[in-house]
Every structure is written in structure tokens, then in C-alpha cells.
Amino acid sequence: MKPWNNKAWLFVLPVLVLVAFSAIIPLMTVVNYSVQDSFGNNEFYWVGLEWFQEVLASERFHNSLMRNLLFSGIILLIEIPLGIAVALAMPRRGWGVSVCLVLMALPLLIPWNVVGTIWQVFARVDIGLLGHTLAAMGVDYNYTQDTLDAWITLIVMDVWHWTSLVVLLCYSGLVSIPDAYYQAARIDGASRWAVFRYIQLPKMRRVLVIAVLLRFMDSFMIYTEPFVVTGGGPGNATTFLSIDLVQMAIGQFDLGPAAAMSLVYFLIILVISWVFYTVMTQQDNESVTDGRAGGGQ
């Protein structure tokens, strides 16, 4: 029999240490805080799941969560179809390809807080190009005072910032389709819609799963841009979970409830991502095991 060789663990060790320091230890610290209370002096008292109960029952948490869900929902509904449409419109060959790719990549290269600052200034009614122009045209727009305006500003900013990620992912799926598919579709007399539905969309599905997951997670965790642009206002209108969490942990220094909330937050993202992934890859698995008899008419 082959002897058990423990040397292999030595190769895994560096990664284990790295993951331990970057993920496991911080996470466990949070778990530790979430079940204790402190009154300063580094004295901690065991409170069990009390913080979790408090967070889950609090209206403040519910409101932030609903805002987050709404924001992510709108972002996905706009960015995914728009990203697909732009990717379809991009040229497949010639000099236009690199021009488009560079233009598309530009917003992705800008740091989050810079994006926030750009839009904060751009949309200001007094000096911003966008805000001032709108005001001059007689549009009643002020993102610092009006809830709807604040939401529109954040959504437009996110669409501007992140749609190109969806575009680039979809484009990579599109260019991997061999010419023969388009030729066969022309031979078969397929309409533009049929080509999209039966050739382009199926070939894009894998990258679309990635796009949806990334855009969901990122938009659900969004912090920097709304913090810079609206600071969570007007009122609490754009206070998302992340902003709420920071206020609780650093503003109020309620470490226990904040720790409990961050764990709940983390679990929500995990569960929703899992649901997206399962639903979107289900068809894949189905078609492999699908052996039903009978015609398709």
C-alpha cells in the first residue's frame, strides 16, 4: 500500500495561513462580537443570540434591506438587458473593436470614490454640468433634497460605471460563436430575433450567470458611491445596509449589534447568490439528463 504522505500539507500551508489571516480570523472575531455585549474597559458579557433577534426585528434593518433589494433589482433590470444590447451592437472585427473595448473598459478603471466624487460634482445644481443644465431647462432636480432624484442619480451613476462590465462579459460570449452558426441561421431563414434567441442567448448564458452574480453582489454591497454622493440621504432615503452598518459600528460604536447585522448581511448575499446560480444553471443540468421521448412539435 502507498504510504500516507503528509508532506503535501506543507504546500497548502501558505494558502491556509493567508486565508486564515484574511478571512477566517476576521470573520470569527465578528462572530465573537455578535454574541457578546461590552460596556467598555474591554469587558465582555455573553448575550447569546440577543443581538441577532434585535437586528432581525428592527425596522431600521428592514428598511435598509428593502432599499438594497430594490436598488439591486433595478440595477439588474437595467444593466443586464442594456449590457446585452450594447454587446450586440459592438463591431466584431476591424479597428472599431479595440476602440469600443477601450471605451468600455474606461469606467471600470476609475476608483469607486472617484466615481462618487465625479457624480457628486456633476449632478450639483449650483456648479455641476448635469444639475445646472437640468435646472436651466426648468427641470426641478435636486438630489440632495428629493428622494427620487437621489435614487435616479445613484442608479444612473451605477449604470454608467458598471454596464460596461456586463457588455465586456457578453461580448466575450458573442465573439466565441463561430461564423458557421450565423451562416446556418441565414440558410434556415431565421429572423434577427430567432438568431438572438436560439444562437446568441444560449451561447451567452454562461457569461450572463457571472454577470448577474457579480452585479448583484456588488450592487448589494454598494457603499462608497452613495456615501460620497448622498451620504445616505436625503433623510435615510439612500441608506443601504452597508451605510447603515458603518453608522452602527463606527458612528454609534454598537459593536455587538453591528457584528450580528454584518453576519446576517453576509448570509443574505450568500443565499441570494446561491438562488441566482441555481436557477440560472438549472437548464444546463436539465438538458444533459433530459432523455424524454416524443416529438418537439
Partner: protein
């Protein structure tokens, strides 16, 4: 079904610097089974794509039954085309794949669901795909996928022509024969005009009534398999068709004799004085290996036994010569060769010298 006429068709991919297809005129008769044979890169696929409209020719006109269709898009030409690699709509079942070209019809050509179903059933039966009809196309073997691609062409019984672009490349050898036979049967049954592109001579010769041989963007010969074997119009055709291909030896003509390196070879007729590069072509089947004292001495380099006969690779002075030797004939120690006079073709600058000269 239609008669397809090419009028001075030519195509250049680089705006006229070089021609992938040199100006050609050709007629494909209604209901004919044609093979387009030639080495890779000779313009076969270009020609096929011009007929189906996937490619707009740089010059010339294309007529279906005498009507100019050069400007019509692919969809309106009503052509079926099968590609080298299977193209399937992955999310559809096999039956839906077959129904797809029928369902895409609009307006006056629109078919009823019942008619589509019956035609799909026919195509499924024709190709023996009954067991797969309800399965998703994804995950099938390459053979089955290509059968379905074929089926999408065959399901349209009223097409002007069915074009095949090396369709059996991905098919297992033992199935190739079977599918080719099936195609021939379908051709006999329905009488479609079929054009079959291949670089495999066996495929071309077994499939087609007429073979069109192409070289470097030009048609070098159109003929039946028999004509291509007996009287290749061009030394290329002779070398390309046959296994091994025709032997081509440089020669000089002297009345009714050809002289190869000082050896006199009898011809069945007298040739006039011709200028240019003269060559003698003889197929390995018509070169006979004999013992010393009868013919031209050769040196045998190697012998390949292919089962039904042997192929001797020999050297006649500096020229290569292939000889087909029957299985049980012993190889002579001092080998010489004799050429069957009535099987010798004479070429002037690679072109066959016709009987009219």
C-alpha cells in the same frame, strides 16, 4: 429545384489584388449530383458560399433557372447548406432543430403545424434518428449532430439546391460510407440539385454523377468519374485522382513514339510537332512490371501492400514511377516496366493533347 448558372463569376477577398476564384462560367443542371473536388484553399468553399449567397461575388452573375439572383439575400434563394462542422441549435430538441427552417417561413410560404410535423417525421425516418427525436441537441455525438445538420437541409423538400461543404469531415469512417449511400438514395428519390464540396476523391467519385475538379481558383476539368480516370485534362487532375495518382514523366515526341530519357515508348497514334513542356501521363494501373530484357529498367525503392494489390514505388532514372503489382506476382530481380500504349495520355504544358490535333 433549379438549374444554376454561373456567368463570369469571380471573387477576390482583398479588393482585386488576388482572386480566390478566377472568372468562371459553369452550369449545374437541374437534379444533378455534383462534387466539387480540389485541394484545400482552391476556392471550393468560396464558390459554394457564392451560390448560397453567404458571399457576394466581386464579379459576375448567378442565375437560378435563368433568373438573376445575384442580388438576393440568402434567405430568399431557398438553398440548403450543410457545413463542415455540425451547427445545431443547442437549446432545441432534435425534432425542433429539424422543424426550425420550416417554422421560419412567413407569408405565402408559411406551413401549417401538421405539415411541419409530417415533414420532420419524414426527415427523422430518412436519417434513422427516431430514437433521438425528443432529446436536446446538446450532448449528442458528432455523428448524430452532423446527421441532424444534414436533416435540416433535407427537410426542405422544395429547395433550389442542397450544398454540402465537406460534411463528412467529423464523421467516423465506417459511418461515412453509410451516410454517403443515404445521400445518394435521397438524391435518387427526390432529385434535388446537389453540390458536394470535398477534398477526398473517394467521396467525390462515389457521390457524384459529375465531378468538378478545381485548382487555384479555376475549374480544370468537369467530367464523370470515368472520364477523370481515363482522360485527365490536366496533369493535376491525373495526379489528384487515383491512389496513387497518375505518373507524369517528361518526354519528347517522335512520330508515334514518346521518348523518355532515351527510352522509346510506343503510342497508339502519331502526334504533330508540338512546342512547350511535353509530358507523358500513365496511371500506375497500366504500368506492368516485367523481368529483364523487355522494357525500361527501373529501380524499386519500396513496396506497399494495400491488401488487394501492392504499390511499388520505383525510380526511372531520376523520375518517380508508381506501379501497381498484383498480389501474387513475384518481384523480378532486374525489374523493367512496360506501358499500355492505349492508356498513355500526352500533355502539353500540363494540358491534355486532344485527339483533334
Amino acid at each position: 429545384m433549379a438549374r444554376i448558372t454561373l456567368k463570369n463569376i469571380a471573387h477576390s477577398y482583398d479588393g482585386g489584388d488576388s482572386y480566390a476564384l478566377k472568372a468562371m462560367s459553369h452550369e449545374w443542371l437541374d437534379g444533378g449530383a455534383y462534387a466539387l473536388l480540389g485541394p484545400s484553399g482552391c476556392g471550393k468553399t468560396t464558390l459554394l458560399n457564392i451560390i448560397s449567397g453567404l458571399l457576394q461575388p466581386s464579379e459576375g452573375q448567378l442565375l437560378f433557372d435563368g433568373v438573376d439572383v445575384s442580388q438576393l439575400p440568402t434567405e430568399q434563394r431557398n438553398i440548403a447548406q450543410v457545413f463542415q462542422f455540425p451547427v445545431l441549435y443547442d437549446t432545441m430538441t432534435v425534432a425542433e432543430n429539424l422543424a426550425f427552417p420550416l417554422r421560419n417561413r412567413r407569408g405565402a410560404d408559411k406551413l401549417s403545424a401538421a405539415e411541419i410535423a409530417s415533414r420532420v417525421q419524414q426527415a427523422i425516418a430518412m436519417l434513422g434518428l427516431e430514437a433521438l427525436a425528443g432529446r436536446k441537441a446538446r450532448g449528442l455525438s458528432a455523428d448524430d449532430k452532423q446527421k441532424i445538420s444534414l436533416g435540416r437541409g433535407l427537410v426542405r423538400t422544395d429547395v433550389n439546391a442542397i450544398l454540402f461543404d465537406e460534411p463528412l469531415t467529423v464523421i467516423d469512417p465506417h459511418l461515412k460510407w453509410q451516410l454517403r449511400t443515404q445521400l445518394k438514395q435521397i438524391h435518387r428519390q427526390f432529385g434535388h440539385t446537389m453540390i458536394y464540396v470535398t477534398h477526398d476523391q473517394t467521396e467525390a467519385l462515389t457521390f457524384a454523377d459529375k465531378v468538378v475538379v478545381m485548382l487555384a481558383g479555376e475549374v480544370v476539368q468537369v467530367g464523370t468519374p470515368q472520364q477523370l480516370f481515363d482522360t485527365p485534362q490536366h496533369t493535376f487532375v491525373g495526379k489528384f485522382i487515383g491512389s496513387p495518382g497518375m505518373n507524369v514523366l517528361p518526354c519528347e515526341l517522335a512520330g508515334n513514339e514518346a521518348v523518355v530519357d532515351g527510352h522509346h515508348i510506343a503510342l497508339v497514334r502519331e502526334y504533330p510537332v508540338l512546342t512547350g513542356v511535353m509530358e507523358l501521363g500513365i496511371r500506375p494501373e497500366f504500368v506492368r512490371l516485367v523481368g529483364q530484357g523487355q522494357g525500361i529498367p527501373v529501380q524499386i525503392i519500396s513496396v506497399e501492400d494495400v491488401g488487394r494489390h501492392r504499390i511499388a514505388r520505383a525510380q526511372l532514372n531520376s523520375h518517380r514511377l508508381d506501379i501497381i503489382v498484383p498480389e501474387h506476382q513475384p518481384l523480378p530481380s532486374m525489374p523493367c516496366v512496360l506501358f499500355d500504349s492505349d492508356r498513355i495520355n500526352i500533355y502539353q504544358n500540363s494540358q491534355l493533347v486532344g485527339w483533334d490535333l
